[in-house]
């Protein structure tokens, strides 16, 4: 069935002009219809909310990053095929089928964006932060990544080039930040606690050790 653009745009205009402006009421309408039609149970929505607040979040990605720091063979598997590598944790799933890990280095800072929508490796990092889906971030990350990074408190050393990854197809990106100095011999779980969501998107470069007040 070919996509009917005119009809779709027409329905959008009708809906927007006839629905109450409060988004909570609009969502209520969708929820009522979805429940009534048997697409979803109300309790299932609560289960989804709990799944994403308690179970699926950036701690998953942090574990993956930490292991890549301590296990060279895992690091290689991650760089070769990150989608397969995260299966070792059972963290595969929504938007990780074509996951790609990109490592920061002394000369590279990776930064991930989706300019056309808001693609994100949900099963690995949970729901994205609001800024990631904001028009300002989507518009500016590709054009002025250094100014964007500055707003996150990141100033790059002279030698560092920014690689901005715009997720235009079904590949998804995980930034692997550099392991901080002074963590030699730390176990994986202690290392994982250092890895932030922003660092895995690329808007944080230096990871802070628990005792320091380094730049976020």
């Amino acid at each position: 069935m070919a996509f009917d653009r005119d009809k779709t745009a027409h329905i959008h205009r009708e809906l927007h002009s006839h629905l109450p402006p409060d988004p909570a009421l609009r969502v209520k309408a969708l929820e009522s219809l979805a429940v009534e039609r048997g697409y979803v149970a109300r309790e299932t929505l609560d289960a989804w909310i709990e799944a994403y607040s308690e179970r699926i979040g950036p701690k998953r990605g942090a574990e993956v990053v930490a292991r890549s720091w301590v296990a060279p063979d895992f690091r290689q598997r991650l760089l070769d095929n990150a989608g397969m590598a995260v299966r070792e944790f059972g963290y595969e799933g929504h938007a990780t089928g074509h996951l790609k890990a990109v490592e920061n280095s002394d000369s590279v800072q990776n930064l991930v964006v989706c300019t056309l929508c808001s693609c994100y490796p949900f099963a690995l990092l949970g729901m994205s932060p609001i800024w990631y889906r904001s028009a300002a971030y989507r518009a500016r990350a590709v054009r002025e990544p250094r100014k964007v990074l500055a707003e996150f408190g990141v100033t790059l050393p002279e030698a560092v080039g920014v690689r901005v990854w715009d997720s235009t197809a079904e590949l998804r990106y995980l930034v692997v930040p550099q392991r901080p100095a002074g963590t030699e011999g730390w176990p994986e779980d202690r290392l994982a606690a250092l890895v932030t969501r922003n660092a895995m998107i690329g808007t944080q470069r230096d990871l802070a050790l628990p005792d320091t007040d380094g730049p976020g």
Partner: protein, 219 residues
Amino acid sequence: MDGPHDLGGKEGFGPIDVTSPPFRHEWERRQWALSKTSDKGAMGGSIDAWRHTLELLPPAVYHAVPYFEKWCIQSLCVLVRDGGVSLDEVVRAADATPEGPGTARIWSVEDAVEAVRANEAFFDADPGEPPAFEVGERVRTLRHGSPGHTRLPAYARGAVGTVTAHHGGHIYADLSAEGLEEGRHLYTVAFTAPELWGGTADPRDTVLLDLWEPYLVPA
């Protein structure tokens, strides 16, 4: 389409609120949860058709309403367009107190976590012909977009870059939105910042996009 969603490089947006959490309001959480059913039945369709429906929001609405409200209107639109729901029913549903428990099975948190895992989708598809470009080759993107759904952003059109990876064949988004699953070779192409933004851009920086073969010609 040259729609309101094509934000890359657009100017006039203010500073980024860097502290914002994933959700601010309860209705946002509920919309996110509702979207988890959006690939089921009349609320769904391919990811590309889903995106295209969202892109067709009137530009003023796209720019003005909160993120998850766009998702909500998108799903309501699909219900009206493909699900046999009338506009009146939608408007009444915003007003009415929700009715009884419905007929859907109740999922546990464990079910939801498992569904996320099982949703590991792959988009590989045989393009039926050898790739036209190889890693290291210089390519130029088309100057024109497509009147329908497309994933070549306006900021990267008519630009010369270097192929840095070939991913084999992937389902071609432009046709997928129209209901056709066909494979095309997919590449990662790196563009220098000055190529995209002109001479004042930082020559140390690059932007990398994943682009299907029909978007590319030899440089």
